[in-house]
Amino acid sequence: MIDFFTFLLIGLTVGCIYALIAVGYTMVYGIIKLINFAHGEFYMVGAFVGYYVLVLGFGAQIGGRELGLIPLLVATLAAGVATGVLAVIVERLVYRPLRKSGRIVALLAALGVSLFLQNAGQQTVGAKDRPFPNTMTLQRYPRFKLVAGDVKAGEVARRDISVVYSVPLEGGRLTLVENLAQRGNTISAESVEKLDEILRNAAREGVPAAIYAYPAVTVSNKDGIILIALALITLLLYLLVQHSRFGRAMRAVSHDFEAAELMGINVDRVIAGTFFIGAFVAGIGGTLGGGMYYSKLSPLMGLMFGLKAFVAAVIGGIGSIPGALVGGLALGIAEALVYGYVSFLYADAFTFGILILMLLVKPSGLMGKPSSDKL
């Protein structure tokens, strides 16, 4: 049961990242019936923009001091805006001239944009994986404070125990977490020695150090940031789509393109805005998910992840924003459970199997409207 909740939490976080990307797929599809193949690449671009803001703007170094929340927030917003602008440019140059041509032609163009961003990325930022700058050390919550006397060698640990301490570094400090004992294992003499040494050093340097015990199921601070980000974005999207002029125009265009145009809605602007919002959210997903959470950046990172987010959009019902959120979470959790209980080897087959099943059995998805035209 403990395992189950742990897998569930991992799935929830990954699902949030899927949801952040799926939102853009679904918004663009909802309004111009285009599967924007390049959307996964927007996620990649977002991650790189966040990376460069942190490295060049805040002087982050690999293995250097922790940057903290404010630089991360700035980087995330910058990534969102830059990605959004890129999407608007792509829409203007490539998708707008093709709006009246067939869906296959537009899909090909999207494939071309996706290839272009991948290849251009490999030539400019290089094909090698890059780690993301250290914005914060992974810490788990909830946790209970212990005192040094509670950790005795030879005793069986009732909970996971670790010591969290800081070391001063140039321009700031770095928080480190040292695991002392695992639940159910005997606390070794070395662990206690190590703890003593860490506490002594911390006292000498005048930096904080604390011993914590953890319950069986914990959430990390990174999970928390991603969950909060998704919750905030969901709220903002809801307000934007349901309660703003722009949102009303967007829904009108999505409902009936030509009628909306006749009613005096500036369709071009609405579509550009939709691209901006979708890519903005994907860019945030790139910095928080691909960057902070996975810490693995490469020009090809958006390919598989983008496809999986597309699967999430289909599960939720492509064209429906709440569907994309639900689909993302559902896919993340399902994948985590397969990872945990079956095998991580077959995760891709599982995800794409779901896609095919969904397309065949319920192409309108969990929350989508059944469409009148044959799929």
């Binding site: 285009l34 599967i35 460069y52 490295v55 060049l56 490539v94 001239p97 093709l98 041509s101 869906r103 296959i104 032609v105 899909l107 090909l108 163009a109 494939l111 071309g112 944009v113 290839l115 272009f116 991948q118 290849n119 251009a120 490999q122 030539q123 400019t124 930022v125 290089g126 390919l303 496809l307 597309f310 699967v311 289909v314 080897l345 077959y346 995760a347 891709d348 087959a349 794409f352 199997g353 896609l355 095919i356 397309l359 065949l360 192409p363 044959k374 799929l375």
Partner: protein, 356 residues
């Protein structure tokens, strides 16, 4: 592109290679080396030609936009490799395995075509594209975890012909086999498209509902197109596995599938001559001519984390150029770069201006 044009193109390709070999011989160069180099490229080009022509049947002629052709290719290649490697009596000279590997690869790929074709009947357009892509990725994932198929390390069947003959004979024999395969593909697909079945297939592309109303059996023709396309991809896979004597999942990635789609699109969807020309040009530019470019470095990016200005060799920009080309062709000439171009016109006397 007119059908005869591609015969001219292929003839000039062989003439070019023959010319290069002759010049090498006269100039006292290493003919054997040159033959091995050009022989290998001509063989692989023929395999790509079979793949792009069979994809053209599905994507171009019937309008079923598939992004999963690399999956059929993969099935054929792995089926052939496993046959040569594991069929008794086995060993380095498994002739029985070699001969049987071709029909087995074709049947295996066609069966998979059936498996993909039937569920995909309910899908069209971009959904079909995604579903076929999903099928080929599932397949790749399963092969990646299969012990007898070598997991991600791949499978190395013995090259029976190479083991029985010399290096030069190996190239010569595969040259004949591969181009015979390509010629068979062209011939069968061309005759198919000229028959009443071909017109039914084209009718499905032009307007599915109208075709259905006129009595075209959609179910039959869609599955038929998938099975036929897959069968030829399987044959290409068998040639590839036997010639290369090594297959791994890296050979059949999504990017290879995209490359095939680009060949069909640049050639003009449904235009066999155009597809042929696009395949040959793209293959030789990407794999041969590009390597002859002088190594010129150009600045492409400014990145302080990589120590300032990033330079790259101009030949490395081919992939970028290629993706821009795809976008531009789709924007400017969606019917395909080469559609309607007629090379035979070069050999005809120009008709009078009024055409009478």
């Amino acid at each position: 592109m007119k059908f005869k044009s591609f015969l001219i193109l292929i003839a000039s390709l062989f003439a070019l290679v023959g010319g290069i070999l002759a010049v090498t011989a006269i100039g006292g160069g290493n003919v054997e080396h040159a033959f091995a180099f050009w022989g290998e490229h001509l063989i692989i080009a023929a395999i790509w030609l079979m793949l792009s022509l069979s994809l053209n049947l599905i994507n171009g002629c019937c309008g079923l936009f598939s992004l999963g052709h690399q999956g059929f290719w993969m099935i054929g290649a792995y089926a052939a490799a496993a046959t040569v490697k594991y069929l008794p009596p086995g060993g380095d000279q498994n002739w029985l395995g070699f001969i049987l590997s071709f029909p087995i690869a074709v049947v295996a790929a066609a069966a998979f075509g059936l498996l993909v074709g039937i569920p995909c009947l309910r899908l069209s357009g971009d959904y079909l594209a995604i579903a076929t892509l999903a099928f080929s990725e599932i397949l790749r994932n399963l092969v990646e975890n299969s012990e007898p198929l070598g997991k991600s390390l791949g499978l190395s069947p013995p090259n029976v012909i190479r083991n029985a003959t010399t290096k030069n004979w190996n190239y010569a024999i595969y040259l004949v086999l591969a181009w015979a395969g390509a010629a068979l593909t062209m011939l069968v697909l061309r005759n198919l498209m000229r028959s009443s079945h071909g017109r039914a297939i084209q009718a499905i592309r032009d307007d599915e509902r109208a075709a259905e109303l006129l009595g075209v059996n959609l179910t039959f023709y869609k599955v038929f197109v998938f099975v036929t396309g897959a069968a030829f991809a399987g044959l290409a896979g068998a040639l590839f596995a036997n010639f290369n004597a090594f297959v791994s999942i890296g050979h059949f990635s999504f990017n290879q599938g995209v490359m095939l789609v680009v060949m069909v699109v640049l050639g003009g969807m449904g235009d066999m001559g155009g597809t042929t020309a696009a395949t040959i040009v793209l293959y030789f530019v990407g794999n041969v001519f590009l390597k002859w470019l002088p190594s010129i470095n150009v600045p492409v990016f400014y990145d302080p984390t990589q120590g300032g200005v990033v330079w790259t060799e101009i030949r490395n920009l081919w992939q970028v150029f290629f993706s821009v080309l795809l976008i531009v062709v789709v924007l400017v000439r969606p019917e395909g770069l080469l559609k309607g171009i007629d090379l035979t016109a070069l050999f005809k006397r120009r008709a009078p201006a009024d055409g009478k």
